[in-house]
C-alpha cells in the first residue's frame, strides 16, 4: 500500500497544533496546575508560530492538492496562531478563576485552532467542511466550558443547534456545486465555471454556501446566534469566537468566493452587497441599544463582518487584500477589547454591564487608555488600526465602483461611534466605583492587553508593511 506523496511542509503548522492539542489533553489528565498547562499551550503555540513564520515564502501542497501552503494560508495561519497565543494569555487567570477544566480547555482551544488552520489552507470544499467542523465542534464545547453556568450552557446549546443547522446548508451547497461541476476542488470549480454546466444548480449551491459562511462570520440575517452566544460563553472563548473563528470563516469565505467563484462575481456581488449593508446596519444600530458590553461587542463584531463583506463585494485583488488587512487590524483591537472586559471581571462578579465601566478611565489609567484605543480604533479614528482597515475596505469599494456601499459604510461608522464612544463616556466622564484587580496579579492578561494596544497603534501608524503582506498573501493563492 502506498501513501500518496505528502508535502510535510504543507501540513506542518496543522500537525504541530493538532499534536499539541492531543498532548495537552493527555497531560491535563495528570497535571493539575492550570498555569503550567497554559504555559505549555503558550510555548507550543509560540513555537508553532515561529516555525510557521520560517515557512514564509515556501509553497507546498498535500492530499492531492486539497490542502496547500501558500502565502494566503500562511497569513491566516500566523494570524490564527497569534490570536491563539493572546487568547491563551488571556485565559490563564480566567480559567483558574472560573474553575474551567484547564486540560480540556486548552486542548479544545488547540483543536479549534487546528480546525481553523485547515480552513485557511484547504482548497477543497470538503476539506473546508472538515476544518470547519473540527473548529466548530471544539468551539461548541468551549462555549459551554463553564459548565456550572446556565448561561454558558445555553450559549453552547444555541450555538450548537444553529451551527449544526448551518452545516446542513453548507453540505447541501457543496453537494449542489459538486453536482453542477463534478468537483469539489476550488481551482477545478473555477476552471469549470466557463463550461457548459447547470447554472441553476450551481447558483443554488453558491447561495447555500453564502448562507453557511454567512452564519460562520455572523452576517445578517444569519447572525441571530451571535449576541446570545457571545454573551453567554466564557469571555475568553468569546474573544476566540469574535476574532479567530471569524477570521477562519472569512479565510474560507474569501478563498471560495474570490478564488473559486471569482468568475461568478456578477452573480453574487448583488447578494453580497445586500448582505453587507444589512450586516453593517443591523449590527451597528442594535449595538446602540445594548447594556451588556459583551453583547455590544457581539453586535459590533457583526458590524465589522459587514465591513469585510464590503471588501468581498468589491472583489478582486483589492477587495481580497482589504479583507485580509481588515481582519488583521480587527484582530488586535477586538482581542484587546475583550481583554479589558476580562480585566474588569473578578471571581463571581463578571462586571459585564457597560455601566460597570464608570470612572474606570482615571482610576485605572492603563486599562482606560487601552480601552480608549480599542474603542476609537473600532470606530475607525486615525491613526489606529481600525481606521487603516476601513480606508482599505472603502478604497476597494470605491475603486470597483461601489460608491453607495462606501457611503453606507461610512454612515455606519458614524452610527458605530455612538456606542463605542459611549464606553468612553462611561469610563472617563461618569463617576463609578467598580474596582479592578491589580495588573500585577494578572500579568498575562495585562500583557495581552498591552500587546493588543501596541499592535493596534502600530498597524494604524505604519500600515504599509501589513498592507503589503495582505496584498501579497492574497495574490499568492494558486
Amino acid at each position: 500500500m502506498t501513501f500518496p506523496a505528502i508535502d510535510w511542509i504543507a501540513v506542518l503548522p496543522l500537525l504541530l497544533v493538532a499534536c499539541l492539542g492531543v498532548v495537552c489533553l493527555g497531560v491535563g489528565l495528570f497535571v493539575d496546575d492550570d498555569e503550567v498547562l497554559g504555559w505549555g499551550a503558550l510555548v507550543g503555540l509560540g513555537v508553532t508560530f515561529i516555525t510557521t513564520a520560517v515557512l514564509i515564502g515556501q509553497h507546498g501542497s498535500a492530499f492531492n492538492g486539497t490542502l496547500v501552503l501558500d502565502g494566503y494560508a500562511l497569513f491566516f495561519d500566523l494570524l490564527i496562531l497569534a490570536v491563539g497565543c493572546v487568547v491563551v494569555l488571556m485565559s490563564m487567570s480566567y480559567v483558574e478563576e472560573t474553575g474551567i477544566g484547564a486540560g480540556e480547555y486548552y486542548a479544545l482551544l488547540l483543536f479549534a485552532l487546528s480546525g481553523m488552520i485547515v480552513m485557511a489552507s484547504a482548497t477543497d470544499l470538503i476539506l473546508i467542511f472538515l476544518g470547519l467542523e473540527v473548529m466548530s465542534i471544539s468551539v461548541y464545547i468551549l462555549a459551554g466550558a463553564w459548565r456550572t453556568q446556565m448561561r454558558s450552557n445555553e450559549a453552547a446549546m444555541k450555538y450548537f443547534l444553529l451551527g449544526a443547522f448551518a452545516t446542513g446548508f453548507l453540505l447541501y451547497g457543496i453537494a449542489l456545486i459538486y453536482g453542477a461541476t463534478g468537483a469539489t476542488r476550488i481551482d477545478v470549480i473555477a476552471d469549470k465555471l466557463g463550461g457548459v454546466i447547470d447554472r441553476h444548480l450551481l447558483l443554488a449551491g453558491v447561495a447555500m454556501l453564502l448562507v453557511a459562511f454567512g452564519f460562520k462570520v455572523a452576517a445578517v440575517p444569519f447572525h441571530m446566534w451571535t449576541p446570545d452566544v457571545y454573551e453567554g460563553a466564557p469571555t475568553s472563548v468569546t474573544a476566540l469566537m469574535a476574532v479567530a473563528v471569524k477570521s477562519a470563516g472569512f479565510a474560507a469565505f474569501t478563498r471560495v468566493f474570490l478564488r473559486g467563484f471569482g468568475g461568478l462575481h456578477a452573480d453574487w456581488s448583488m447578494l453580497l452587497w445586500v448582505l453587507a449593508v444589512a450586516t453593517m446596519t443591523v449590527g451597528n444600530v442594535l449595538a446602540l441599544a445594548q447594556h451588556n458590553i459583551k453583547r455590544m461587542l457581539a453586535y459590533s463584531s457583526i458590524a465589522h463582518a459587514g465591513y469585510i463583506l464590503v471588501a468581498l463585494t468589491a472583489g478582486g485583488p483589492t477587495g481580497g487584500a482589504a479583507a485580509l488587512f481588515y481582519l488583521l487590524a480587527y484582530a488586535g483591537m477586538n482581542l484587546g477589547a475583550f481583554g479589558v472586559v476580562l480585566a474588569l471581571g473578578r471571581r463571581g462578579e463578571p462586571h459585564e454591564e457597560i455601566d460597570d465601566y464608570a470612572g474606570l478611565g482615571f482610576r485605572s489609567p492603563l486599562l482606560g487608555a487601552a480601552m480608549a484605543i480599542f474603542m476609537l480604533s473600532l470606530t475607525g479614528i486615525p491613526p489606529l488600526a481600525g481606521f487603516a482597515g476601513k480606508i482599505y475596505v472603502f478604497t476597494a469599494a470605491v475603486r470597483e465602483g461601489y460608491y453607495a456601499l462606501a457611503v453606507i459604510g461610512v454612515i455606519n461608522s458614524v452610527i458605530s461611534a455612538g456606542y463605542y464612544v459611549r464606553v468612553l463616556v462611561v469610563m472617563f466622564m461618569t463617576p463609578g466605583a467598580v474596582d479592578v484587580v491589580r495588573a500585577s496579579r494578572r500579568p498575562y492578561l495585562f500583557t495581552s492587553i498591552v500587546f493588543s494596544a501596541v499592535v493596534t497603534v502600530l498597524i494604524g501608524v505604519f500600515p504599509a508593511p501589513w498592507l503589503e503582506l495582505a496584498r501579497l498573501s492574497f495574490l499568492s493563492q494558486p
Binding site: 482615571f362 491613526p383 480606508i391 472603502f394 470605491v398 461610512v410 458614524v414 461611534a417
Partner: protein, 509 residues
C-alpha cells in the same frame, strides 16, 4: 527641498510634550502645567522661526518635507507651508500657550490629562494646517476630534456629555463622507497616473462636472459643519457652552478655521467648476448665517452661547470672502479667520474669567462690572470692539476686505451681509451694556477680583495683536498675497468673475 525638519518639529513638539506631561507624577500638577506651557511656548518660538524664514515673494509651498508613508497607496508624509497656512499655524501656536497659561487656574482636576489632550490637539491642528497629503490631512483632521471630545466631555459643564457626543458625531459624520470623496478623487486621478494623495498633484485632476459636484458636496459638507455654516451649526453653541474655557478658546479660535481653511485649500481649488456652480448657494447660506447668527445671538441669556452664535455670524463673513473668489475677498477672509481667532478667543477667555469668579455665565447675573473690574472692563471693551469690526482694530480690516471683495462678486449678497455690521453691533453692545454697564445688580459682584497678573499676561498679547493687526496689517497681507493669488487663479476659469473684475479694473470700460 527635503532636508529641513522645521515643520515636523513644529507639528510634533506638542505631542512629545503631551507624552512627557503624562509622565509627570499625578501629585505634581504644577509640574504638568509648566511642562505643557514650556512645550507649547517652544512650539510658538519654532513657528516664529518659520515666519522669519518665510519667503513672501512666492506662491509655492515652502519648507516642504516629503517622505513615503504607505507607498502602495500613494500616501505620503508631506508637510509644507504657504501664505495661507502660515498665519493659521501662527494663530494656533500663539493661542495654545495662552490657553495653557489661562488653564493654570482654571483646571484643577485631572490636570495632566487636560494638558495632554490640549497638546495633542495642538499637534492635530498644526498637522491639519500643514499637511499637503490628503490622507495625512484627514488623519490630522480626525485626530483633532478626540482630544477636543475629551476636553469637552471630561472638563465641561453640566451637559458636557451631550455636547461632546454631539460635537463628535456631527463632525465625524460629515468628515467621513469627505473620506469617501477623497478616495474617489484619488482613484480617478490614478487613471493614467501614479496613485497619489499629494494635493499638489490632485489639483490637476480632470473630473466631469457631475463628479465635481458630488465630490465638492462631500468636501463642503465636512468643512461646512466645522465652519459652521447655517444650518449645520447647532453643535457649536452646545459645545461652546459646555466646554471649559480653554476648550472654547481653541474651538472657536482655531478649530472653526479648519472648515474655512479646508474650503480654501481643498474644496475650492480641487473642484473649481463645482465651486462656481455652488457659489450662489454658499453665498446665500453665508449671508443667512451672518444675519441669523447675529439675530439669535442677541437673545441668548448665556454669555457663551451668545459668543457661539456670534461665531456663526462671523464665520459667515469669512465664507462670503472666500466665495468672492478674488484676491481681495480671500485675503480678507483669511485675515478675518485670524481676527476671529483672536477676538472670539479673547471673548471666551473673558467669559472664563468671570465664570471662574462667579460660576455663572448668565448675562442676567452680571451688570455694572465696570466699577469692581475696571481693567477687565477695559479689555472687554477693546475685544468687543474688535469683534464688531471697529476700524482701527483688526476686525475691520478683514470685514472691509471681505465686503470689498464680495461686492465685486455678488452685490446682493454683500448688501445683505453688510446688515451683519449693524446686527453685530446690536447684540454685542447690548450684551456689553448688560454685563459691564448699568448699576451693580448683584451684591456678590461688588467685590470680585479684577484681572490677576496671570490673566493679564494671557490677555495682553491678544489685545496687543488686536491693535497691531488693525493698525499695521501689511506684513500679514503681503505674506499671504502670492499664495492667495495662485489659489484664486486655480479656482477660477478664464471666464471667472475675478477675471471679469480684473478686466474692469484695468479700465476697459
Amino acid at each position: 527641498m527635503t532636508g529641513n525638519v522645521l515643520l515636523s518639529l513644529i507639528v510634533w513638539t506638542p505631542l512629545v510634550g503631551a507624552l512627557l506631561v503624562l509622565l509627570v507624577p499625578r501629585d505634581q500638577p504644577d509640574g504638568a502645567r509648566r511642562a505643557a506651557f514650556a512645550f507649547s511656548s517652544l512650539t510658538f518660538v519654532l513657528s516664529l522661526a518659520l515666519w522669519a524664514g518665510f519667503r513672501a515673494d512666492t506662491a509655492d509651498f515652502q519648507w516642504i518635507e516629503q517622505g513615503a508613508w504607505v507607498p502602495s497607496f500613494g500616501i505620503q508624509y508631506i508637510l509644507g507651508v504657504d501664505g495661507v497656512s502660515l498665519f493659521l499655524v501662527l494663530l494656533t501656536t500663539f493661542l495654545t500657550p495662552l490657553v495653557i497659561l489661562f488653564s493654570f487656574g482654571d483646571i484643577t482636576t485631572r490636570v495632566k490629562e487636560y494638558f495632554f489632550f490640549l497638546l495633542m490637539l495642538e499637534t492635530g491642528m498644526l498637522g491639519a494646517f500643514l499637511a499637503l497629503d490628503l490622507f495625512l490631512f484627514y488623519v490630522f483632521w480626525e485626530l483633532m476630534l478626540i482630544p477636543m471630545y475629551f476636553i469637552i466631555g471630561v472638563w465641561g459643564g453640566a451637559r458636557r456629555i451631550y455636547a461632546s457626543l454631539k460635537f463628535l458625531i456631527y463632525t465625524l459624520a460629515a468628515s467621513l463622507l469627505m473620506l469617501v470623496a477623497i478616495l474617489y478623487l484619488v482613484s480617478v486621478h490614478a487613471h493614467g497616473a501614479a496613485v497619489t494623495f499629494d494635493v499638489r498633484e490632485l489639483y490637476g485632476t480632470v473630473l466631469s462636472p457631475t463628479e465635481q459636484l458630488w465630490l465638492f458636496t462631500a468636501f463642503a459638507l465636512a468643512f461646512a459643519v466645522k465652519v459652521p455654516m447655517f444650518p449645520l451649526h447647532t453643535w457649536l453653541p452646545d459645545a461652546h457652552v459646555e466646554a471649559p474655557t480653554g476648550g472654547s478658546v481653541i474651538l472657536a479660535g482655531v478649530l472653526l478655521k479648519m472648515g474655512t481653511y479646508g474650503f480654501l485649500r481643498f474644496a475650492m481649488p480641487l473642484f473649481p467648476d463645482a465651486t462656481r456652480a455652488a457659489t450662489p448657494l454658499i453665498l446665500a447660506l453665508a449671508v443667512v448665517g451672518i444675519l441669523y447668527g447675529a439675530a439669535v445671538a442677541m437673545v441668548q441669556p448665556d454669555l457663551k452661547k451668545l459668543v457661539a452664535y456670534s461665531s456663526v455670524s462671523h464665520l459667515g463673513f469669512v465664507m462670503l470672502g472666500l466665495f468672492a473668489v478674488n484676491t481681495i475677498g480671500v485675503e480678507g477672509a483669511i485675515y478675518q479667520m485670524l481676527n476671529h481667532g483672536l477676538s472670539t478667543g479673547a471673548l471666551f477667555l473673558l467669559v472664563g474669567v468671570i465664570y471662574g469668579r462667579r460660576h455663572t455665565r448668565a448675562i442676567a447675573d452680571f451688570g455694572g462690572l465696570w466699577k469692581p473690574l475696571p481693567r477687565y472692563a477695559a479689555v472687554f471693551l477693546v475685544v468687543m470692539l474688535s469683534s464688531i469690526g471697529l476700524p482701527g482694530l483688526n476686525g475691520f480690516i478683514g470685514e472691509f476686505l471681505i465686503l470689498l471683495g464680495s461686492f465685486a462678486a455678488n452685490r446682493a449678497a454683500t448688501v445683505f451681509a453688510s446688515g451683519g455690521l449693524v446686527l453685530g453691533a446690536v447684540y454685542m453692545l447690548w450684551m456689553f451694556q448688560r454685563v459691564i454697564f448699568g448699576p451693580l445688580r448683584h451684591e456678590e459682584n461688588a467685590h470680585l477680583q479684577d484681572l490677576t497678573g496671570r490673566e493679564i499676561a494671557v490677555l495682553a498679547p491678544v489685545v496687543a495683536m488686536i491693535v497691531v493687526m488693525g493698525v499695521y496689517p501689511r506684513p500679514f497681507l503681503r505674506a499671504m498675497e502670492p499664495s492667495v493669488k495662485a489659489l484664486v487663479a486655480r479656482i477660477e476659469a478664464h471666464d471667472g468673475p475675478a477675471t471679469r473684475i480684473a478686466a474692469r479694473v484695468n479700465g476697459q470700460r
